[in-house]
Amino acid sequence: MMAGYALMLPVLTPIVAACVVLLHDGPRWRRGVMLGTSIFLVAVATWLLIIADGGAYRVYRLGDWPVPIGIVLVLDRLSAAMLLLSAIVGVLGAWRASDGTDRAAPHFHTLYLLQLAGLNGAFLAGDLFNLFVFFELLLIASYALVVYGSTTPRLRAGVHYVVLNLAGSSLFLVAIGVLYGVAGSLNLADLAVRIAAAPASDTALLRSGALLLLVVFALKAAAAPLSFWLPGAYTAAAPAVAALFAIMTKVGVYAIIRTGTLLFGSEAGAVANVYAPWLTGAAVATIAVGALAAFGATSVVRMVAALLVVSVGTMLCAVALFTEQALAAALFYLVHSTLAAAAMFLVAGMVPTRESTRVTTGTLFTIGALAIAGVPPLAGFLGKALILQATPPDARGLWIWSAVLGSSALAVIALARVGMASFWEVATVQELHDEAPIRTRPSSGYPAGGALLVIILLTVFAGPAGDYSRRTAQQLVTENGYVQAVLSTQGGR
């Protein structure tokens, strides 16, 4: 039973800590609480991962209400992996923020912790409306974090970011309204049963609801043509914040995987696999747009943001196939690319650097570049190879192969170009330094180094990690498991 209550920890701890932070005004206290909480979350997420790897679904019913009526939190292998990933990225961001970023304006720590709570909640939510509520929680914290410090470029990017996401939230509510109106439930498991049993006359409405959901999640994931907000917002944000935001696009990907397998999976009758035809095209377009943007980027941060878009496209290519093998590959690549993007945002924040730290920064940049481009010897290469392996040899496969391989080549060239201009002062790219981030202290290399260390660890332990993603994919494609586990948690009143 302890494991049941443990599902509340990743959500409740950061919210409580966000309040505790406000009790005392000293920077040491606030940083201590922020860092302590993020490290605690890593421990909790590791524990939950071990529990989830047992194979059984853990369901926690809030207030002990019976299932389709009350709110449930559900833990499976996918949510556990996402929780651990967000906790690790959370520690790295908090570590980086503790060297001065958090002094630019009040309440950084509270906002940061609330964002973590929103992320964790979104990964655990067992019904559509709570997914919306946790999305809003993480978004409202992220709005404040984007414009944090109120510099002009941040405010400029912030207005676009907020307006776009508010429009997205409205669409999300419309989609929820459509699905509730047709199926009469919001609990994901209950919804899956009802959608599969829906009469033929409701097919059109169900399809519209499903595709509206896809639009909303694609906006969060930054899939083309809804990806153009990302480089502006992430470039303007502080490096620590941008590193945390590397996980935010993955909330969109997570939601696409969750709803695409559970609600609109192969057993969903008339709306089975309704995402697939749209998603492949969008994913290939995302890769193309991102790779070209990386090639034309005028600063290191902007290039990293563009490569983040490429990595989202790459994993969506695999997700769009919705087979067990492809989902496993996508999940493995998701973990790696999130860490790589976070590491590169941290490195990019150090680039206009003093003579004495140039070697350090250059080394970190090189390792990070290998990671984010997905070339050997780091794990990103394995992820891409798994994705290509899972692609069937048909017309769709041809597009995916060309996009993934072509974007890798473009990414390597773009990274080499920017690296040379930044560290060898060839400086053919005059504007490279025009978006100089806030000044850094030597210590700020450590979080970036830590991120790269995690990537190296992931490469060393690629075997167990790959096995875990395979087991996760297996769990995802057997939709009945989720439905039965949630709906059978009745009684006990």
Partner: protein, 113 residues
């Protein structure tokens, strides 16, 4: 009544999207507000429209209105209001920092290149 509600939602949504596409921040704010109203009405309508059933289960059974959409709308209104207030604050700050109310934070150039 169904037709009336549908028309109202459509008009509100249409006006909202039109305003959302303007280049000045104040019309955009109004647009987000109108879209929010349309969405809230739509959510309410997703529980089926009617004016005879009470929103509570009576002892003898009998018909009752679906209480869930009302709870959803209440949550959506609160969240929407908070978000709008935050957007107003950010827009005001941006106006002070950039000296313009254009959504790009800069006046467009007089002629195309």
């Amino acid at each position: 009544m169904n037709l009336l509600v549908a028309v109202v939602i459509g008009v509100l949504m249409g006006c909202g999207v039109l305003l959302l596409l303007r280049a000045r921040i104040f019309p955009v704010l109004l647009g987000i507000m109108l879209v929010g109203y349309a969405v809230n009405l739509f959510l309410l309508a997703s529980g089926r429209l009617g004016n005879t059933a009470p929103p509570i289960i009576t002892e003898g059974g009998g018909p009752y209105a679906d209480p869930l959409p009302q709870a959803l709308v209440l949550t959506a209104i609160v969240i929407g209001f908070g978000m709008l207030a935050l957007l107003v604050a950010i827009a005001l700050k941006a106006r002070q920092a950039t000296g313009t109310d254009h959504v790009d934070g800069a006046e467009p150039r007089e002629q195309g290149r």
